[in-house]
Structures are given as C-alpha cells and as structure tokens.
C-alpha cells in the first residue's frame, strides 16, 4: 500500500468507567482507557472478555449502563452511531451481498448523498490504495476472504472518519494472509494517521500492531501499556499467561532463608534464586506474601548439556523444534518450564541438562491476589 494522504481528521477517544450488563451478566465492569490522536490501541482479551462489547459501546451499537464515552471531549453516550463520525470494520466484514464491490465502497458516501463524480473518484482512489481495482464489479460472494477483508477496510477508510473501530478484522483470514495483513494494516493506519481502536484475541496481532495494548479479561482492564511493557512487565498472572508465545513460565515459589540469605525457592524443587529488588524491598518491609508465583519468559532461560556454576539440574521433558528456534521443555521438580534455545540444540528425553536464567527476567506475583509485586 502506498502512502496516501487522505487527510483523515484525527480524534481522541476517552472511555471512562463504562459498565454494561446483558440481563444479569456483567459484560463490562467499569472499563476505562483512552486512545490519543493518531494512536493505534489494541483491546486484547480472550473470547467473552467484553472487548467487543466495549468496542460496540464506543461505536454506539450498544449503550453502556454507566460511565462516559468522549470523542474529542464531547460526551457521545446518547449520540446515535451515525453522528459519531466513526467507521466500523466488522469481524464478518458485513459487506452488502447484493451490491458490487464498487457499490459497497460507495455505500457510505451515497448514504449521505455525495455527488456522483466525487463518489467515483474516491472509490477509485481507495481501490488503488488497497489494490482491489480489478474487483470493483464483483459481488462479495465471488471474493476470497482476503479480498472481502480489503473491501471492508476500504468501506471504512473511504469515509475519512475521525475514528476507526475494528472488530477482529483479521480473524477470518488464513495464517499466512493474516501475517501479511498485519503489516499492511499497521502501515495503512500510520499513513492515514487515523485514531484506531482494534479488538483482537490474538496476542501476536496485539503485540505487532498496537502502539499500546489494553488487556481485558472478565469485563475488566487487566493492564494498559506498550507492547514491551505488557510483554516484559505483566501486571498480573492473567496477562503473564495470556501474552507471549510461549506464555510466561509460571511456577509456585516461596521465600526462604538459605545460608543466611533470603532467596526464592521454587516449590518441590532444587531451584533457588536471589530475590529481585522489588521482592527484597517488600520482604524488608514485611509485606511479602507467603505464597508467591515465579514468572520467567522462555528466552530468559537457557539450557546446556554441561554443568556450570549456579546452573540447576533439570530433566528434558520434550523438544519442540520450530525452525528458527527450539523450545525445550524441562522438568524442574514437578514443573514443566519452556526454554527457548538455538535450533541446533539436541537432547534426548529424560536426559539431564543444566538450566541457567537471566535474573533480570524474573517476575514475582502474589499467588493470592495474582498481582505482580513491586
């Protein structure tokens, strides 16, 4: 897609403490987040987390029971979708099946009585940006899902709205196309500079596309931050286990005295670690909880066939060669840990290997509250 200055107006979105119930089911339990001018924010969560409901509230397709939604400082709770100057890309694309691609793209313009010449010009323009010029006379059922997805995007950008709202627009594509569209969509958003709120359950999509990510679970925001923060400093056990592939290794541990030093001992194992600074501080102040969970990413662990100073003996459980890397699953006591290694690493099942770790990558969570310490 070539850079195309369409001059889309920008806007800021602020969502404050919205609550939405369906019957006696709470879909959203007080959700707040904001999207700055030109920013790409991803709402990430598993199915049923309320992310689509939040998006539909912003669009005006659902009305929140409580809370406020502001677009450019104006409260829009009572405003019908048509007046919010937004474009919505639906998960199933919602193309009009009886209309051609041209007519689908022209629909938002014709709906407000745009002149024929302008409709023509803008449709051609959008078709060129999205490389769908050759499809203009086809109907949706003659398109592949990738092509339909482009038409749906086209129908959104032709409006030059203040705000793009996208509900899992890539989820119906096959894996290869999805990876390709991730990059294209991100570039398109940067070129257009339109403020975007994007919903997905795919953490990889969120990581790769979002300027910021808001992780949602059970109708509540779990963490808001840059992809880097979400990945490296998950705020709680849910975020740690949901984001990243493989997910963060999580094992139960406790504080214990060892040779006069306080250390973290992983339950039922021979693995003990020095305290990370925030845990040491908490322990000093006497507010360290008794039951803890240790979290560490697969790339912060490494294994070797030969013993070294400070390494922990572990048993190989299984190897997952992935081409560019190999994930070694090792047993530390009863716990399976995933370790990212170079693809040339080989070992046989039940072989003893020696595991070392990057102390910087150690995160500690309160097992009771599930929140990160520090």
């Amino acid at each position: 897609m070539s850079p195309e200055p369409t001059g889309g107006t920008m806007a800021e979105l602020v969502v404050e403490n919205i609550v939405k119930t369906f019957g006696d089911v709470y879909a959203l339990k007080g959700v707040s987040f904001s999207v700055k001018n030109g920013e790409f924010v991803v709402l990430l969560g598993p199915s049923g987390s309320g992310k689509t409901t939040a998006l539909r509230c912003v669009a005006g397709l659902e009305k929140p029971d409580r809370g406020h939604i502001f677009i450019d400082g104006q409260r829009v709770n009572e405003m019908p979708p048509a007046d919010r100057d937004i474009a919505f890309v639906f998960q199933n694309y919602a193309l009009y099946p009886h209309l051609t691609v041209f007519e689908n793209l022209a629909f938002p313009l014709r709906a407000v009585g745009t002149g024929k010449a302008e409709v023509n010009e803008r449709v051609q323009n959008v078709a060129r940006i999205l490389h769908i010029e050759h499809l203009l006379h086809r109907r949706p059922h003659h398109l592949s899902s990738g092509e339909m997805q482009r038409v749906a995007l086209g129908r959104a950008i032709i409006r030059r709205p203040k705000l793009f709202l996208m509900d899992e627009p890539l989820s119906n594509l096959d894996a290869l196309l999805r990876a390709e569209m991730r990059a294209e969509l991100k570039r398109l958003q940067k070129d257009l500079g339109t403020t975007t709120l994007f919903v997905t359950h795919d953490q990889l999509e969120a990581m790769s596309m979002g300027d910021r990510i808001a992780v949602l679970d059970q109708g509540q925001i779990q963490q808001i931050g840059s992809p880097d923060e979400i990945y490296h400093r998950p705020a709680n056990l849910f975020v740690a286990s949901f984001v990243g592939s493989p997910a963060m290794n999580l094992v139960p541990c406790r504080l214990a005295e060892e040779n006069g030093q306080r250390r973290l001992i992983v339950e039922d194992s021979n693995w003990s670690l020095p305290l990370p600074p925030e845990v040491a501080r908490a322990a000093q102040e006497g507010r360290a909880p008794s039951r803890l969970v240790l979290g560490i990413r697969a790339e912060d662990l490494s294994v070797s066939l030969s013993a070294s100073d400070g390494a922990v003996a572990a048993e190989v459980y299984v190897l997952e060669p992935l081409g560019a890397e190999t994930i070694v699953n090792v047993l530390i006591g009863p716990h399976v840990l995933k370790v990212r290694t170079r693809p040339t690493f080989t070992a046989s099942i039940r072989q003893t290997v020696y595991m070392t770790w990057n102390q910087e990558g150690v995160r500690v969570f309160d097992a009771q509250t599930e929140k990160a310490l520090g």
Partner: protein, 302 residues
C-alpha cells in the same frame, strides 16, 4: 467366505446392493406419478384435439385445433379470463401489500408476539371450502355480521354482480395474507443484523436502509411468495364454488377453473374442457416464467 455365507441365506434375507435399494425406493413414486400425473397430462392433451363427450359411447374423434379456435372466439371464455385476471391482480396485490407490511411490523420483539403470530396464521390452515361457507354467512345481507357492523342492513356482497368479486378478494386476502407475511418474515429474519449496524455507522437513513438493504435482500423470497400465490390464485376454484355459489351471481365470478369444471362435468364436453385446461396451463407457465426471470435478475444471475 462372505460370499458363501451370503448365498446360503434365503433370498429375502440377502443384503440389497445400493443400486437395488435406489430402485426399490424410487419405483413406487415413479409408478404413481406416471399413473396419476404424466398419463392424464398426455391423454388430456390428446383429448383437447378431439371431439369427445365422456358420457357418449363414441370414441374420441380427431378434430385438430377446432376446440381451441372455438374457445378463443367465445366471449364467455374471455369473460372468465377477465374475472380470473382481475381476481389474481387484486387478491395477490392486496395480500402482498398487507403481508409485507405485517411482516415489517412483526419483525421486532414485543410482548405476546408468538401468540399474535399464531393467531394470524390460523386462516391459512383452514380448508378453503369451509372458509367459503362461513364467509358466506358473514357476508349475508340479512343477518351477516359485516352488514351489522357497517350498519348497512341488506347490503349485498356475494349476490351483487360487481361486489361478488370484491368479496372473493377480501376472503382470499384474509386467508392468504399470512402466507406472504410468513415468507417475508423469514426473509427479513435472514438479513444479518450486522448489515444494519454497518449502515447505521455509515450514516444511512431509515429509508436508505430499507431501500438498499431490506428490500433487495428480501425480494427473492417475496418473488417466490408472489409466484406461489399467483399460480394458486389463477387456478381459483373452491372459494367461488362455495362463497358465490359456483361463480354467481350469474357468471359474475366464474373463474376459468370453474368454467373448465362446467364444461367437463356439466356439459360433458371433454374435448373443449381439456383444451381450456391447456390454455390455462400455458398462461400459468408463462406467468411463472416472468417471475422466475425477475428472481434471477434480483439474485444477480442475469
């Protein structure tokens, strides 16, 4: 081994091959179809070119297109066609407007919707003969409820040469509007809600949504409903048989089907009645083809 096991079984216990099962299932239907539909169709086509009276001893005598020529020049026949055409147009038109309108009203949730819908569907489930009979009472000029409610004692419906057709239209619409409504409702429910949501976000007005989403998406089903109703209305027989006493007053409501019946079973003019039946058949086929062309057009296949 399996072969010998199979051969030792008695014939009626042996497994049938797929092919044999297919034949066993199809044959009875095929025979029935041949005896009850295909043969009469061909035989009546032959009879339509013959002079033949079913109650006379003479066998059919080939007369070429004489029956057709006689029929097509007979003003009485034209009257029947006019009555039928007027009825089809008025009845199906009324049913369409009311049925689609009701479907749009029913296409939302409200308390008591299920019950109301069931009540609306009842007329469709009644026998036309029964409907004709009790509407005759309803329309009665002396003690019918319609004239009582309209405070028009003695106002004639089914016995009035012009209003008798309107009576037929009213009763047919009462009976078959629910049918159009039901099919239109099915079409409306099949339109994905997300299309309306997309249109709402895209600032489409209610009329624009109706004109550019609802109507085009429901029209294939509406055309099918119209096709079925038109074919059925063009063959109308039972309602005027009971409601207006065999097409009365006089022959004011004598539809083509009633006329065919009169030719065949009252005048025993089998040849002419077969010819008239074939003329009606050709007209109905032509009409349905018009609908089918329109259907293909709205579905984008033409």
């Amino acid at each position: 081994m399996p072969v010998s096991v199979r051969q030792r079984r008695p014939v009626w216990k042996r497994a049938l091959t797929d092919q044999q099962i297919k034949i066993a299932f199809i044959t009875p239907t095929l025979l029935l179809l041949l005896a009850m539909n295909i043969f009469p169709l061909i035989w009546s086509l032959y009879l339509s070119f013959c002079e033949y009276y079913a109650d006379q001893p003479e066998s059919p005598r080939w007369v070429g297109i004489a029956n057709y020529r006689a029929l097509l020049t007979d003003p009485e026949i034209w009257h029947s066609f006019q009555v039928t055409a007027a009825f089809v147009f008025l009845a199906v038109g009324t049913e369409f407007i009311l049925g689609f309108g009701l479907a749009l009203l029913f296409h939302r949730s409200f308390a008591g919707k299920g019950l109301l819908l069931t009540l609306f569907l009842i007329p469709m489930m009644l026998s036309p003969v029964v409907v004709g009979l009790f509407w005759k009472f309803i329309f009665d000029p002396n003690w019918g409820i319609i004239d009582y409610l309209l405070r028009l004692p003695g106002f004639e419906w089914v016995t009035h040469p012009r209003r008798a057709l309107w009576a037929l239209v009213i009763v047919d619409a009462w009976m078959w509007t629910p049918f159009i409504m039901l099919i239109a409702l099915a079409g409306l429910s099949a339109i994905p809600q997300s299309l309306y949501e997309a249109a709402a976000v895209d600032r489409a007005s209610s009329w624009f949504k109706f004109r550019h989403i609802t109507l085009p998406m429901v029209s294939p089903l509406l055309i099918i409903a119209l096709l079925i109703r038109t074919m059925d209305a063009a063959k109308l027989f039972d309602l005027p048989w009971t409601l207006t006493d065999e097409g009365g007053p006089g022959n004011a409501t004598e539809t083509v089907s009633l006329l065919i019946y009169r030719l065949a079973f009252k005048m025993q003019d089998t040849g002419s009645s077969c010819a008239l039946a074939y003329i009606l058949l050709v007209i109905i086929i032509a009409l349905s083809n018009l609908f089918l062309r329109q259907l293909k057009k709205v579905k984008g296949e033409l």
